[in-house]
């Protein structure tokens, strides 16, 4: 390796010993505290699998039914546990099947280490069987990647991979290992990586930045917080809650920030963005100070940037320097891990209540309640609505469940209506919008937090993109609860077709199979709800069931998600119907 890294003093219990490259891979994983990995074997990774066989009492390898499933499962595992998720695949198609999961992890800052087998180094570039340039392919979607061609590189490269994946703003890392490097032997000696000279994961807190931010927050009359996943990734939830309570500032979340602050916290004013809540969207354009904490002003959050919070002074607490001023100009940037910056900021801000200002949020919530929420939850309307199902799950799980959602209308219903009391409870594909994410992610989430209830909420479209992972659930008996909200449409696309394409429903209607029979074919307990009267008992039976469970709920076919900020519109032009 050419790169200068620093490492902890020797942590390995083993003194130097001769092992194969493949065994070194396993020993590295053990040194990093890995006990669960997701993957799929194949020619170029067989030496590693042969070692996995020997180490099966120490590492649980979960055989997913597709490599994409392995990455999403590893993501689900990482998101709930805060640990690094690990996915393993062979070369060629095995490696390319990882791509969607890696891209998803990159945009949602999820720590992943992907290990791929590669053809022998003498075959590189020869278009050998199952050879793809996975390092080239994954370059733009990884935080770092590296091709190992010599066995002796393995310990240092894997140590570095784990360090990079989890430090600073986390992300996916890919290590590609040629087959000859897996077979060759090396003197194994493991040192955890503790620094890389060209990489500064945690910017030093600049006290004057924090002081300036405190000053503007203290003098604000109508301040508003928008928090993102940075609060969770930084492990700053408690600190953040203290900050919110001390300052009395109404706080809204991005989809990935959800669950960092309990849903029912009095200062939690809901979601910002395209299908966010009415009040925080409207008041984004009325606040005098906008405090962004660990979030990146995604376009789904901001709507039209030319009309986004132009009246407000923007304070931006962020660990990644490239995010400052990327989409929204930060008048008061505060660079650093929010756990560190919030700690300093907390002492500098003055207690406040902002009661009148908070009342404006409450008033607008009433409007949204009357026009949207009450209708979504109305049990007298003809067909069952998605929100009613989520509400029933809240009741039965008491808000303690991990909710894993896929992408589309049901995702918006799940995020808007789920009740969260604990952090790291919302697992969803935010930035990439990966349909097919939820089923495998739920497998990983349940394994990452085995004592918590894990409920996957999935649409009938996305479900069929990774439906084969039912096989993984069957084989591992991982007790996930799967709820399909079946409206027979690719609902979100259909909604756009209805609103913006004169109801030309091009390829959005789904002719679906019998989902219950399919689940039963995998020996998974399954049930179907076709009428509101069956819902309560069905959800109860699902939650009480000891083992995996599948529940299909037939919901209204042409329900639309509101509120909505139409594309190109300002957040304050959010529509309610």
């Amino acid at each position: 390796m050419e790169v200068k890294t620093a490492s902890f003093e020797k942590t390995s219990a083993d003194t130097s010993m001769t092992v194969s490259g493949a065994e070194a891979v396993i020993k590295c994983l053990l040194e990093e505290g890995v006990d669960t990995i997701y993957g799929y074997p194949g020619g170029a990774i067989m030496p590693v699998y042969d070692e996995l066989y020997k180490y099966q009492d120490k590492i649980h390898h979960v055989l997913t039914r597709h490599e994409q499933g392995a990455t999403h499962a590893a993501q689900g595992y990482a998101r709930v546990s805060g640990k690094v998720g690990v996915a393993v695949a062979t070369s060629g198609p095995g490696a390319t099947n990882l791509v969607t999961g890696i891209a998803d992890a990159q945009i949602d800052s999820t720590p992943l280490v992907c290990i791929t087998g590669q053809v022998g180094s003498h075959l590189l570039g020869s278009d050998a069987f199952q050879e793809t340039d996975i390092v080239g392919i994954s370059t733009p979607i990884t935080k770092w990647n590296y091709q190992v061609t010599r066995a002796e590189e393995i310990p240092e490269v894997i140590a570095k991979a784990f360090y990079i994946a989890k430090s600073g703003r986390p992300g996916p890392v890919l290590v590609d290992i040629t087959k000859d490097a897996q077979f060759a032997s090396l003197e194994f000696n493991y040192k955890k990586c503790s620094g890389i000279r060209s990489y500064k994961p945690n910017p030093e807190v600049n006290l004057s930045e924090v002081e300036r931010a405190a000053e503007v927050i203290n003098s604000a009359k109508k301040p508003m917080i928008v928090f993102g996943q940075g609060v969770i990734l930084g492990g700053a939830e408690e600190l953040f809650k203290e900050f919110v309570e001390k300052t009395g500032i109404p706080s809204a979340w991005t989809i990935l920030g959800l669950s960092a602050l309990p849903t029912k916290h009095p200062l939690n004013v809901g979601m910002v963005g395209m299908h966010g809540n009415y009040a925080p969207n409207i008041l984004t354009n009325e606040c005098d100070v906008l405090i962004a904490i660990g979030m990146r002003f995604d376009d789904r959050v901001t709507g039209n940037l030319n009309h986004y919070a132009k009246q407000a002074k923007v304070v931006h607490l962020e660990i990644d320097p490239a995010e400052i001023n990327k989409n929204v100009h930060a008048d008061f940037p505060v660079l650093g891990n929010v756990k560190e910056t919030l700690k300093v900021l907390l002492d500098l801000v003055k207690p406040n209540s902002h009661e009148e200002w908070h009342n404006e949020f409450k008033e607008l919530y009433k409007t949204e309640y009357d026009k949207v929420i009450s209708k979504n939850l109305d049990v007298n309307k003809q067909d069952l609505g998605m929100a009613e199902v989520i509400q029933e799950i809240n009741i039965k799980t008491k808000g303690d469940a991990v909710i894993v959602s896929d992408v589309g209308q049901h995702q918006m219903a799940a995020c808007r209506y789920s009740d969260f009391t604990q952090t790291r409870s919302n697992v969803t594909s935010g930035g990439l919008g990966t349909m097919g994410f939820a089923l495998p992610a739920a497998i990983g989430a349940k394994m990452g937090t085995p004592n918590r209830e894990v409920v996957a909420i999935i649409g009938d479209g996305g479900y069929q993109m990774t439906i084969q992972e039912l096989g993984t659930i069957f084989q591992t008996r991982v007790p996930v609860k799967i709820v399909i909200l079946n409206n027979g449409f690719l609902g979100m696309v259909r909604q756009w077709q209805q609103l913006f394409f004169d109801k030309r429903y091009a390829s959005t209607e789904m002719t679906n199979p019998d989902f219950v029979t399919i689940a039963k074919g995998y020996h998974i307990e399954a049930n179907r709800v076709t009428d509101r009267s069956q819902l309560k008992d069905a959800v109860k039976a699902m939650i009480e069931h000891d083992g995996p469970y599948f529940l299909e709920v037939k919901v209204e076919q042409e329900e639309n998600v509101f509120p909505m900020v139409p594309t190109g519109a300002s957040v304050s032009d959010i529509i309610l119907e």
Partner: protein, 179 residues
Amino acid sequence: MEKKNFTVSIYTENNLGLLSRIAAIFLRRHINIESITASPSEVPEVMRFIIVVEVTEEQIKKIVGQIEKQIEVIKAFYHTAEEMIYQETALYKIKSSEFLDDLNVQAFIKATNARIVTVTPKFFVIEKTGKRHEVDELYETLKPYGLMQFVRSGTIAVTKNEMQITGILEKFNTTNSIS
């Protein structure tokens, strides 16, 4: 904001794959790279890329941020032409027959500080180092004589101000033990 030429200087570890990682940052934003060079820098084992692009200042700030985010990038800077001392080198291959007959052109080469590097019975090779417009002027002058080949290097440049790379690296060395 108006587009202009910016020179990006990137100090990096000498690592396989970094060139494509950096190039991808431009590609993804549909920005054409005007010229690119990579070479060792003044710091041992540290590489320096010089990339010239035509973009707005707002764009280049964000791009430099994305470049610096790459693990093996030690530091990236951007500069305008005024802040740099820069040169390009070009080679011109011309038929000897055309060339020998014309004394004007020989005088012109001398006057522009170009240099004849190779003379054979069949062709001459002329080298010119200078600013882009000087290289272009000589190209226009030589074109009527039948340019057999022409090639121009990427811009190489040094800044007028000091670069702080050694300091950054020393700081890491003093706070960490290098393996």
